[in-house]
Assembly symmetry: C2
Homo-oligomer: 339 residues x 2
């Protein structure tokens, strides 16, 4: 099969890789209907995370080709969506809704789903079948559910966005835009998107932002406070992962409010006294997308939400390298790859 | 009047200070029935926090002597308990239960309640009258409610201690011991106190600990995991405030669980990736004791709880310096001062 490999920072190629096979009786193999490039794939692309000849990709939707002997909930021919962490969905952590930290969790990034085929471990716990074969116009939205939508949704849930509340979203990448959509669906009264990019501002408004602020850092915090009687927002989603954006998110949250952080915080060190005197509820990490998948698939199926709009560039898998360049240079919000 | 002043680290004296007066129409002046020394008073005593000729103390109970023209809820002769932050109890942050971050909050430490008399700003929002004049044996417990009990209670609440849950308390100081008591009252099934001091272990058991672990750091985490099917506790209270204890608390919490931190985190910097992959709910800061005071006073009045046991040394105000020494040298858990 063909698949994407990153040989070194900036060096992405689509090349021949071995076809995956059933390795464990709990595995499935799927043929991808779509895959995509994640903002977090830019960490190794830019050399922040180490990489060498790595198969890439952790987002996937497609049709089950083959299942292991113990798989019960999906069968060949089913159209499925899965999360970027394979999880058993039965352990005590999964049952509490934190499948990304399943005691048997397997990161799909170690498998590499930017390919024509992919092995999915723990298929029963990981894959959710759609109600039928989706029409082609739903493919981008179902693709978004695999990570960015679920991640934005987790951020908004962790921030406890809801009726009567003001929600701030720090970060106008795909995850931030999906957090805007999630906050709207969860009923937030006011949704403030922090963005200085006209196209992303427009998308943010499309997904439900009621206000756009272009300031950053302390100025961004001051602008949020001006809109919130000086006390900050009830709910803040952090979807960047830098020191500046984390502190901006913390300072934008009112005491007693909730901050959900879903940007990968590689180079962050939070001063204890900042956390102490902020006195906010914080929850973040790799999103337990599996918790939300059945609900998100249904909303997409019923055409209540249109998260697929977040993909503003579609390329054949063979042109993955151009997709990485477009995201790295911020020419594209998110790139869908067709295998 | 007589009051305690810290002239420099380690230099504590009881000396003449001016009698407080009503400065604002929302003030009250109280005559203290008791005051005490806080673990956080050791920060300046040890030179970690700057100090120069500062009036000391922020915990207080006593009888109202005089009130300003606008004070409505307490009157001269009332026996009152207050928190270490004066708060209006009417702003949006107070109404959400975070009175320690009231938009008009005033730290009582800036006033100094280790004295015979004290001015209490925002008296209506800050002071809670007891049902009557307390019998003398309830004085230590009511004194505890002013800070350490309320702070431990906040930690246990932030950690969402409750029925069916395992709660770990990191720190065997007065606040940690009060968090043990709070976890018991909130219905926690199992309460693990981390302590290597035999006397504090005994107190922890008295207040409700079901298990004692003497390990620290990574060994402490491993011991907690051994007692919790390898996944960590549902609820963890951090009551120390060092880098090691914060990381121990974070690592002792299961993903999706709750960690409440009430130790003052002066020298802490939390690596972003630790928070990201821990994937726990965190809430901490200066405890909004005012939220809990009516309930805590009633429990004490009804003799349901006996937090006063945390005071293991009582001294006259004139001997405050010896009280500081005893706590600094860990000869005493907590020192009550009689004015």
């Amino acid at each position: 099969m063909r698949g994407v490999v990153m040989h070194a920072p900036g060096d992405v190629r689509t090349e021949d890789r071995p076809d995956p096979t059933i390795e464990e009786p709990t595995d499935a193999v799927i043929r991808l209907a779509a895959t995509c490039i994640c903002g977090s794939d830019l960490w190794p692309y830019r050399g922040v995370e180490k990489v060498q000849d790595s198969a890439m990709g952790h987002e996937y939707i497609g049709v089950v080709e083959e299942v292991g002997a113990e798989v019960r909930t999906v069968k060949p021919g089913d159209f499925v969506v899965g999360s970027f962490w394979a999880s058993d969905n039965t352990c005590v952590i999964c049952r509490a809704g934190f499948q990304s930290r399943c005691v048997n969790a397997i990161p799909m990034g170690a498998i590499g789903t930017q390919a024509q085929l992919a092995r999915i471990p723990l298929a029963d716990g990981t894959l959710v079948a759609t109600p039928g074969t989706p029409p082609s116009d739903l493919i981008p939205s179902l693709m978004a559910a695999s990570d960015v939508l679920g991640t934005g949704w987790f951020g908004a849930t962790a921030a406890q966005a809801g009726p009567g509340k003001t929600t701030v979203v720090v970060g106008d990448g795909a995850v931030g835009l999906m957090a805007v959509l999630a906050a709207r669906e969860l009923g937030a009264e006011r949704i403030i998107a922090m963005s200085r990019n006209p196209q992303r501002q427009e998308l943010a408004r499309y997904f439900g932002a009621t206000d756009i602020l272009s300031q950053r850092g302390d100025e961004g915090v001051a602008a949020v406070k001006e809109l919130t009687d000086g006390v900050g927002a009830h709910s803040v989603v952090e979807a960047v992962g830098t020191q500046e954006s984390m502190l901006q998110a913390i300072h934008s949250t009112r005491s007693g409010g909730h901050m959900g952080f879903v940007g990968v915080t590689y180079e962050v060190a939070l001063p204890g006294m900042e956390l102490f005197f902020a006195e906010i509820n914080m929850l973040g990490g790799p999103a337990p997308v599996r918790r939300f998948l059945p609900d998100l698939i249904q909303r997409i199926w019923d055409r209540e939400i249109d998260p697929g709009r977040v993909f503003d560039l579609t390329l054949p898998l063979e042109e993955a390298a151009e997709g990485y360049r477009a995201m790295d240079e911020r020419r594209a919000v998110k790139v869908l790859l067709t295998p």
